[in-house]
Each structure stands twice: as C-alpha cells, then as structure tokens.
Amino acid sequence: MLPEMLLELRPNLDYAAVVVLFCIGLYAVIVKNNLIKKLLGLNIMETAVFAFIVTSGMVEGGAPPVLGPGVMPPLASPLPHALILTGIVVALATTALALALIIRIYLQHGTIEADQLRELD
C-alpha cells in the first residue's frame, strides 16, 4: 500500500517535501527543549505551509503573474502569492513577539530551557 501511495505521489513530490518540512518543524517544536529552538521549528513549519500554498498556485511552465510585454500565459496564480506575502508578515510578527517574550523570560528566570522553566513553576 505504501509504495502505491508513493507512486501516486510522484507528480506531487513538492507536496511531499512540504509535508516533510512541516513534520521537521513540528518535531522541533515538540521535542526541543530550548525555546529558541522551538521557535526555529515553528518558523520551519510556517515556511512549509507557505510552500504548500505557493506550490498549489503554480502552473507548469508558467510565468510570474506580472503582465507586460512578452509575458504570455499561462501565468502562475497571483492570489497565493499575495496570501503568502501576508503570511510572511504574520510569521515575522509572531517570531518577533516570541523572541521578545523569550528575552523577558530569560531575564526573569535566567533560563530558556523548557524543563528548567517547568521546575521553576
């Protein structure tokens, strides 16, 4: 069953990569003890999702959706791009805030290791 699934997946190899990235990120978020490491994992997850959305909007041999002389259809769908631009900002904002919190946590508790923090409680 598994090989069949992989066969079926071949045209969607991009999606497979996205899934792998997503899981790597999630792994870091769950398993890693260091808050910054968790945050890095989160960022990887985010990029995975972005990659998924952009990939879904891509078209075989398509040009960027910028019209102009010599630009011929098919064009990649502009909508996912716009979404991802927003997504990137959201990711940036989340990361910045998370880092701010991490700094504060470090200043207050002297550590950013999750298990040590748990013990502090």
Partner: protein, 246 residues
C-alpha cells in the same frame, strides 16, 4: 522515551497529510480550480480593473485590500506587543517584577560583532540599497515587488545601519518624536485611502474605474505602496530596536 513516540506520531501525521495531499490537483496543472476560478479573472481582467501590471499587487491592494490592511495591522500589533512585553517593568513599583539575574558569561559576549569590513561595505552600499528599495516600492504595481517588499528591504537596511553605526545614528535616522506617527502610517494610510475610495466609489477601499479617474487610482495605489513601504520599514526597524534595547 519521548522522542520515538513523537517521531512515530509525526510519521503517522505525515502519512495522513500525504494521503490528503495526494488528492489535491496535481502540481502545475493549468486546469486546477486554483487557476480556473478566481485567479482566472484576476489574470484576465486584473490589469483592466486595477491598472496594475503586477497582478500580485493588484490582488494585494485592490481585490483583497482588506487582507493587506490586516497585514499591516498584524505588523503594527507585533510592534505594540513587543513594546508591551519588553518595556521596563520595574518602574511604577510593580511588585511582581523580579530583578534580572546577573548576565551569564556565555550570553554576555555580543553575538553580532561587526567587523570593520562589513561596516564599510554596509555604509558604502546603503544609498544604493535605499534607492533599490524605493524603486521596488514605487514600481510595485508594475513589476515584481511592491510596498511591502521594499519596506522590508528598507527595514533590513535600517537594521544593518543601526548595527554598524550604533543607536545614536538610528535615532537621527528615525527621530523618536516621529516614531509613534510613523508606526501608524501604514494602517492610517489604508484608512484614509479607504475613505477616499468610499467617497469616490461608494465602497471602502474602492478604486474609481472610469478612465478619467485612472490618475487618481494610480495615486491612491502609490500612496498605499509608499505608506506600506515606509510604515513597514519603520515597524520592522522598531521591532528590532525594541528587542535590541535590552
């Protein structure tokens, strides 16, 4: 102990995700719904309806202006959030505040030690980068790029300069008294332009379609681009400053 379990679960999750994604339209197929439904109209009529060659900009500023408004708000929120979290808590007799522990040796070493070469290069390239950013911002509706991308570049430049030249310089570049106004620049621009659109077309964030008004439409878009660019840059830079201040 914990790790194998997590890995096993993640593999299961991955399989589930793969199974689901296998059903999605194959990558790159031109007849996928992504291309035939909403996007098709953007591609076919986007230029005519918005006057933007760059359809991404058309989507960002015209079709889905609300999203972009939200986006700048997110950035603004992040900044305020950063301030709210980071600004000193000790004043005002907050009894919950605990004195930070003495800095540890490993952490005391500044991580970003700027070498003279880098410093020189940054200073040398700064005007060109700024120019490039301005181009990206202003021509965003015509070519790849746009207010946001340009703003990010501008912000990155600002950060680089601050790192290289120190905070005094950043204060000159971005006067403290202006900052609160600049934070509000991008969202406020959306409000203003949106209201103008409301006046002109009867819709918030509407753009006049009549040929006679194309100039106005372009002006509105460019205004937004600039506001997003400058505002975005300021927000990003301020985020950096906020984090860095401690």
């Amino acid at each position: 102990m914990k790790k194998p379990l997590v890995i096993a679960l993640l593999i299961l999750l991955a399989l589930a995700l793969l199974a689901a994604m296998a059903e999605l339209p194959a990558v790159g197929q031109a007849d996928a719904p992504v291309h035939t439904h909403v996007s098709a109209r953007y591609i076919e009529q986007g230029e005519a309806e918005t006057g933007a060659h760059n359809l991404v900009t058309a989507v960002l500023l015209n079709y889905r202006g609300m999203d972009t408004f939200g986006e700048v708000l997110v950035l603004f929120t992040a900044l305020c959030a950063g301030f709210a979290v980071l600004l000193a808590a000790a004043r005002n007799g907050n009894k919950h505040y605990r004195q930070p522990p003495a800095p540890q040796e490993s952490g005391a070493v500044p991580v970003i030690a700027v070498s003279p070469v880098v410093s020189f290069v940054v200073r040398l390239l700064a005007p060109f980068i700024a120019l490039f950013a301005a181009y990206v911002i202003l021509k965003g509706h015509l070519s790849p790029g746009g207010g946001f991308q340009g703003g990010m570049i501008l912000g990155a430049l600002f950060i680089a300069l601050t790192l290289v030249l120190g905070k005094q310089y950043s204060a000159r570049l971005l006067p403290v008294a202006w900052r609160p106004w600049l934070y509000a620049l991008a969202p406020a621009a959306f409000l203003v332009v949106g209201m103008i659109g409301l006046q002109l077309t009867g819709y918030f964030l509407g753009y006049p379609q009549e040929p006679a008004w194309h100039g106005v439409r372009e002006a509105m878009m460019v205004t937004l681009e600039i506001a997003i660019g400058v505002g975005g840059a300021v927000l990003v830079a301020s985020l950096f400053l906020a984090l860095e201040s401690d």
